[in-house]
Symmetry: D2
Subunit: 339 residues, 4 copies
């Protein structure tokens, strides 16, 4: 921690800050310049509270944290990549995993048809929402438990694994009974009780980035889940909010992928469907996601996008999905990986 | 609803879209220009799903909604201002209400001391968090039910009303037993199960704007609460995220106040403490909040900011709070209001 | 300057960095923690280049600048407020100055009529663009020198001072012959040749904030003008770009006013017309601008907004302008100032 | 154009708007709903001014433009891709062009050494700034004409083509004498006099996206150059400003590439160096740029990044550049292109 103080302060004012740091076990090294005094503080207790308290003390201009605020998620804590097992699949290893399916589970027929398409294409994970976070209270809110049952039936029929969203602390137990991977949506990235609740279940978690969440806030959300007992966290980039949503609903921040791979040991997934909101942008951004180093992709597909009850405009049709898989397999090869 | 179609389409393609609209009860008026065909559709059923479905149809370039997606919250639905009663206080009327207190309830002593200061200054609502949403899992998370009990004791001793945050659907009933106003924090603005849960209790709700929520998304969150049975919603502007957080943690969007007063009938509150994150910016922005037309202010104060376990740097000391109240009373008078 | 280095480095790697700093005249104090080594460097030569060079050296994690990158504009360099003289007016003193007029000079008649309205209301500075930066090459680009002549005629007839924009280094001399205050528009805030050119003329400069410029970049733009010889710079907040422009074209960042008053000694002006883009938001935000501590306002008015060739929707009509002046005079009184 | 009007208006109010439209040659189709009246207006004169004027008329709620505001740059105007010739090279064709070199021309030796590296790697375009837009007036501002001469010498020695920035209308003629491609930097994207000046010279223009410019504003800047006579415009995505610049200086918006390829016929270039500001992010984002469909890349390299006078931290060393070229050649092959 570095404390920047004005120069020309009374010695006493500086000493009060030094004392406060020593009380917390810090060793202090002072650098006195013409305009500022720097206090380098090392070795003390990590404390969110101390930083805030120092900032309110007389003479203190700013306090700069040097250490990352997260630990369990950091590459320094665990150097090798975390590989998450879902049945016989590995997420975060050499093989890039694709998750595909409809935005929402709409009916038994719809889901089973799409699941069959997913399976035929050699993809191993089925996505589909039974509980849907919708901006409008008048919009379709999901089939709820019925939707979970259809997902389970699709799994039985196809052998696909299931990733599905949970939004309410009271439903985590129920959703965990059906799902192979629990999804935390962008709007819930900082729903801390929900993070702590999913931590209690021994299921991998797909943690989507918040709409305007910083990289550090996102890793801290993963840290919540890990600190409360569940280390199987995947980070999913799904586009951030920018000043221009005319042609793409969000801006897919692909730089997040190599940044996260450097800072953390967790698998990183890219969602080009929500990242753009337009089906014709999904394939180019999916290719870019593989080229930038993602460990997986999550893609919305639909057999009848014009009948989809949500996000139709961003769903790929089966033929386009098939073509996309061909393209990304070749790019994966360039990257020394498989799909 | 307006459907913009390319020109040079086969008549059949246009007719398919027209049919689809008619099936949903719409009347259609066509305007055929050199480059585009416009379909003006009026009178049909409101449907989130139809818009999305049309966007995926052949030949459709875009679909433009004309009507606001919210109803109960709109000024067109209810022309007069909503005035919310909290005991003998009115929120949204002539009197501007100040809510003040610490970021978090830290101890019985701390809370009672600050409550006394709040009361002595003629302020009538006490704020204080018992459940705290913290970016870091290592930071102080609140005293929980113990904190609620201290708030109740402070109310008993001072006659102040209590506003406090609820974060978890499972805790709404408990918090509602203690609080006079339920606060939904910025990170939970689109926690839809939570919005629906607070709607079940007959308590006013202070709904904070999400960090990068649009005006429309924010009103839609209020609409969730209203549609599920609770019309006592206040909207609280607390700063939005921008590209520069060096000197102010957020950008307090004061234009939101007159915009919301025009679009909705709900009271609008301004939070200059979270809006800036720096105590020395609180007074100028609080003055500006009153001048722009806010119905209330929510302000963090602390008797010992340097000991505060959270947000110390943005807390006003008692003397500064006293001075601020003097200033804003005078500006309220200019605005034809009282404090 | 603080250099953060990884621990566990070879002593030699650390010493290379220390040497480099000593070559530039720095004294170094080391703080060695368990995870990091901090080098506090004071007393050396200020150099943009050295920071960048250090960041590329082996073992260096990051380099943190402690001193502000600007000097002449800083409150530390000059403690008292800069008061800029325009004829017998003072900008930055007790009196808040209003600048009003049309977006663009459209014709002799239009300008003279509006100038008369401005003068009748006791306002002393007339705004109006002769060179207009327009997003579209098909839009009206200004009357150019003819517009400047009309402005000069309006000044002669009314005694008003003139503020008008200059966009091209080749036109600075010409515009400076006519204008009392040279305006640098938001899109040109980092047009460095233009900043250096206006620095050569002994005319006050109104420097608008760039659409997504940080506070520091903005002050650095002022520093350019000051370093090249012209210390008469006013900073004008005119709204920043956000993720939501549905109801307000920009977000007027009023927190910038007290932040700039603390960091610099320069006058700060607020532009609620461009800050919102809607005439009905101008009055509330103008009131808020005065309440937050601005030294001046720049406001677009028009006698026939529906005939304005640019920005009609954000122009106040004469009657609304008159009412606004009444309101802000009262708020100025509360602030201990006059208008 | 669509004009949305409130219902319940006097017929006269609606008729005034209709008249105004007819005066401008529009045909009107009305759709009268329960809550709104829609006027579909087709066939009239395109006019920026009319839209703005309509918005200020009584009863008008909003005016929605249907046609793109640009013409020459649009894919509808010219369906086939524009291929720009630079000597014997084609930009926008099957071959992806790489432009590489230092941020700034620092000295004759530095430039010639780096040019040799560029050439040895089979790259055909050399970048390097002789005029540098720097945030700080204290930073290195470029070697100016001397720098241009070194670039010309490097071209002579290596056969590389030269791309270099021009910032000042007064220097365009000079820079055009030396450069093969004129670069307009991000900060000057809306420096309209500069755009019109480069339009006068028969040189290809590399137009960088502004820091927070929308896709439409960017295309409109290209339209300025095209309308004033120069159709050889390339669009360069170089990262946009977001709320998080901790780990990447900007967010490289790769979705812009397929969006621009759809809306316009112009070549699109990606700049992963400025897009991230960190050398270790350049390779992954360069790969992603090729995979997303870019027609070219512009990359900063340096033989001694630790001695670079600007942007050292984002420069690739020669070996890393060589490796990157290998990777992107393979991805180009997958895309059916060459490098």
């Amino acid at each position: 921690m570095i404390i920047v103080m004005k120069n020309g302060l009374q010695e006493e004012t500086i000493q009060k800050v030094v004392e406060r740091l020593r009380e917390n076990g810090y060793q202090i090294h002072q650098s006195r310049g013409v305009e500022k005094v720097l206090l380098g503080a090392v070795g003390g207790e990590k404390s969110d509270y101390l930083k805030s308290a120092l900032e309110t003390m007389d003479g203190v201009e700013k306090v700069i944290s040097i250490l990352a605020p997260y630990k369990l998620a950091s590459r320094e804590f665990k150097q090798e990549n975390t590989i998450i097992k879902v049945g016989n699949l590995s997420l975060g290893g050499e093989q890039i995993q694709v998750m595909a399916g409809p935005c929402a589970v709409e009916s038994r027929e719809q889901l089973l048809e799409i699941a069959a398409i997913v399976q035929e294409n050699g993809v191993r994970i089925l996505r589909g929402g039974a509980y849907k976070p919708r901006t409008s209270p008048y919009a379709f809110q999901g089939l709820e438990e019925k939707g979970l049952q259809y997902l389970a039936e699709a799994r039985e029929k196809t052998g696909l694994y299931i990733v599905t969203e949970v939004m309410d602390t009271r439903k985590v137990e129920l959703v965990a009974e059906y799902a192979d991977i629990l999804q935390i949506g962008a709007r819930n990235m900082q729903n801390f009780p929900l993070l702590m609740e999913v931590a209690k279940h021994n299921k991998p978690v797909l943690l989507k980035r918040g709409l305007s969440s910083t990289i550090e806030e996102w890793i801290m959300a993963a840290e919540y889940i890990m600190l409360h007992g569940n280390h199987q966290v995947m980070l999913c980039e799904r586009g951030i909010r920018s000043f221009d949503s005319t042609y793409s609903r969000n801006v897919l921040d692909l730089s997040a992928v190599p940044i996260l791979k450097k800072l953390t040991h967790l698998p990183v997934i890219v969602d080009p469907s929500h990242g753009t909101g337009k089906w014709h942008l999904v394939a180019p951004l999916a290719r870019a996601g593989v080229a930038v180093g993602a460990d997986g992709l999550i893609i919305e597909i639909h057999n009848h996008p014009e009948k989809a009850v949500c996000d139709g405009p961003q769903c790929l049709k089966p033929q386009n999905f098939r073509n996309l898989l061909q393209e990304i397999k070749q790019i994966a090869t360039v990257m020394g990986r498989t799909i």
